[in-house]
Subunit: 169 residues, 2 copies
């Protein structure tokens, strides 16, 4: 069950029904040990083309992103009973020349494990990333999503603005 | 007048009518001296909130982006007669964990000076950035735009996919 809710739970843990008792899920940043905790498998729920990464490949990518410091943040929620990552999302900060050398936060790869949906974990992930973008001085935060997620992101405070166009190589 | 056209002009210069004779405009990467050549003023045609940058602020941002190497490229076209930048666009490369640690190119801030439109400079800028994303191994390149630019980006090979949602702080 969702016990915490509304604005008051911004920094609180989400309490979920773990089957044998409540679980307290708090958000934290991705750690290098999370490759063993199903982080990449969770991403495969977002993009079926995702494949497991070797520990070496995971560590390489982790180090590349860590080198970006506060310009790239990945947040996760771990189920303490199973040791599995059940929600994640990322934000990277684009530095521009326009708007007085302004910065824009880009939210990417938000996903909640199918078995952990209904506890507002997605909203908490998005709020964490949005708060980060604001804290580091971005003048806006943006994301692209399918139109069926318009309502979800609307609840997170987003307004529809433009269209996204793509070339796949 | 546009003399070069079609696929054959991918790496050629654009020939424009400079009023007192043709001008040959080729694309190159942004240089640190371009703050004196109207680069930021050009961006103000894209975002009215853009303001001129001090030389110090320009150099700081330039260095931050240069440190990203091939993960952030800004291309410009300079009018050799006026010494002004008349077209630009940028692409940055996002490194992901999904898709086997895949990479995505994000095209941003494409603008052609109002007086230099009609010579396919915009298409050449977008093609330069798209080619870069492909060359560095991105599995796709994406951009957000207003719906009135759907046709322009369609000519550049893009297909509409998702919606963009935004929070302004």
């Amino acid at each position: 069950m969702e016990k915490a809710g509304g604005e008051g739970e911004r920094s609180a843990a989400t309490v979920v029904d773990g089957g044998e008792g409540d679980l307290f899920l708090s958000l934290r940043r991705l750690e290098i040990s999370d490759n063993e905790k199903g982080f990449v498998e969770l991403l495969s729920q977002l993009s079926p083309s995702s494949t497991p990464l070797s520990d070496a490949d995971f560590r390489t990518r982790f180090a590349e992103l860590a080198a970006l410091g506060e310009d790239h943040v990945i947040v996760v929620a771990e189920n303490p009973r199973t040791g599995k990552i059940v929600a994640t999302g990322s934000v990277f900060v684009e530095r521009k020349f326009l708007r007085g050398a302004g910065k824009v936060g880009h939210i990417e790869d938000v996903v909640v494990d199918a078995a952990a949906r209904g506890y507002h974990l997605g909203q908490r992930v998005v709020r964490y990333l949005t708060d980060h973008a604001k804290a580091v001085g971005c003048y806006k935060v943006i994301l692209d999503c399918t139109s069926d997620l318009r309502s979800f992101y609307g609840k997170c405070g987003f307004k529809e603005k433009d269209i996204q166009m793509t070339i796949y190589f």
